[in-house]
Symmetry: C2
């Protein structure tokens, strides 16, 4: 594992929007700083949780610049850059790497369904030829429940073997531990499970940590599992894992994005946090209150 | 039905690529002109068949300009403009309407799955507020087998009722005649089935024609169904429908795009026609020969 790999909890940060649905860069920066202060090893802006596919290329670049200009070390950023068209993905990926981002998260092209591994291989090979990364900074992003186009372990193995100068690892949001295990068997590949449910099992099997949506509202507790594991406190890590797993199971589901946003609106006092871009919809006050009560976070 | 509606067969034209995978605008223009000469009522560039989601926004605009500058009446063009981010969709849609395109085809935002009708309504309402169309030129594009996010007849009815100044109709690529029938019951809505299998049944029930991929290689025969129907030749239309349905069934399937492209390479003598962008892959010579033989079009 190269020294530049982020070890621990990486937060796929929510993207806050002003009332006109432009990105609220002040909240974005403050939230990013808070999560790092709470123990996150890095931030993954513009993932699925960050409503990435509702945010344009140039908007993403401008918002990243606001994070970096605001004092966040770009080496701690792993933005999502995967779009459906190769030229668009290449432009966004290159912009992130030029800014010194620690990595980027790459969805497969997700419009056409039932595509072959050979076709996906060709896409990534052409992307790497276009971007010409000078360091292993590309993280593949496997999230079949949403993208509906996945990256099989055999495809990942082939890509990693053929492009070790470009590909660093993978985020596995399959929710399938057997799949994560298959990825962890690929020597040298950096693997982040996409949920803290697999955090401790992953650490034991050699993963780098996890990239998990619920870090937006539970970062410190999740980070504590890694701290205890790294300190050799096995029993403490197990106990903490049980606690964060219990919390995670309360959050999971279709309301995870609007629920966490409404909770942040309640807890920070800034109502803009409740805004989402369509096709996703905001939780109203009552839905937010019910979500907060379920989590034991009601005022 | 407004006078500007294209009646008959609209071809979702294949996008030809040079060997470096840039758009081969010379072939694109020649193909568009040939399809219009063969009897197509219009062209729908950058649909699913046109590998739209593998083509960037600016590339699409430049290629459309080449069609228009090359002599194709923009009123005959209904380009696909639906992307996942509203601002991107709005920019591309506005560019097409400014150029006088007869309409645009709008996918729903297709990354997030399981979204609500209310969320999709909000997306289109905000899109219309951003673009401010001055004529009913928006065609919704329902293709659940690929987009995995669909537009229910009740949502379509609501959008058409609330935005009659903007929305003209829908392309229904569900492959489900019951769904097309439900759409045809919405008074004033222009409906194009997404396959010529439903062409004659659609015409009888008030559809405007069809928008079908196989028009790329069978335009004249498909257009003849509409001609005969409009001329009151019921028996002739039925016979022609049987013939084009037989041909269509031979084309359908995952090989439809590479197969038709390889066939055009063979029939025009221009090998560039065989190129596809990843994640889709080209047919090789043998696959193309088998495809041509299946269709009775082998040399």
């Amino acid at each position: 594992m190269s020294a530049s790999v982020l070890r621990g909890v990486v937060a796929p940060i929510l993207t806050p929007f002003n009332d006109d649905l432009s990105i609220a860069t002040d909240l974005f920066l403050a939230h990013g700083k808070r999560l790092l202060a709470e123990g996150c090893a890095g931030l993954a802006p513009f993932g699925t949780t960050g409503e990435a596919l509702s945010v344009g290329i140039d908007e993403r670049i401008e918002a990243l610049d606001r994070l970096i200009d605001g004092g966040i070390d770009p080496a701690l950023l792993v933005p999502g850059t995967g779009l459906t068209a190769l030229a668009d993905t290449a432009r966004l990926t290159a912009a992130c790497l030029e800014r010194g981002c620690g990595g980027v998260l790459l969805l497969p092209p997700f419009y056409y369904k039932g595509v072959s591994d050979e076709g996906l291989y060709s896409y990534f090979a052409q992307l790497i030829a276009a971007v010409k990364p000078t360091r292993p900074a590309l993280y593949l992003y496997h999230i079949p429940p949403v993208a509906m186009v996945g990256l099989s372990p055999s495809l990942v193995r082939r890509l990693f073997a053929d492009f070790p100068e470009a590909i660093a690892g993978i985020k596995d949001s399959s929710g399938d531990w057997a799949n994560t295990q298959a990825l962890l068997e690929i020597e040298g590949l950096v693997v982040y499970p996409g949920s803290e449910l697999f955090l401790l099992d992953g650490l034991k099997a050699g993963s780098a940590g996890c990239i998990t949506a619920s870090a937006n509202i539970n970062a410190a507790a999740i980070a504590k599992v890694v701290e205890r594991f790294d300190a050799g406190d096995g029993a403490g890590a197990e106990a903490q894992q049980a606690e964060i797993s219990r919390f995670r199971k309360l959050i999971q589901g279709p309301g995870a994005i609007p629920g966490q946003k409404r909770l942040l609106a309640m807890e920070t006092g800034d109502a803009r946090w409740a805004n989402l871009r369509p096709p996703l919809l905001s939780f109203n006050q009552a839905e937010g209150q019910a979500f907060a009560e379920k989590l034991g976070r009601a005022a």
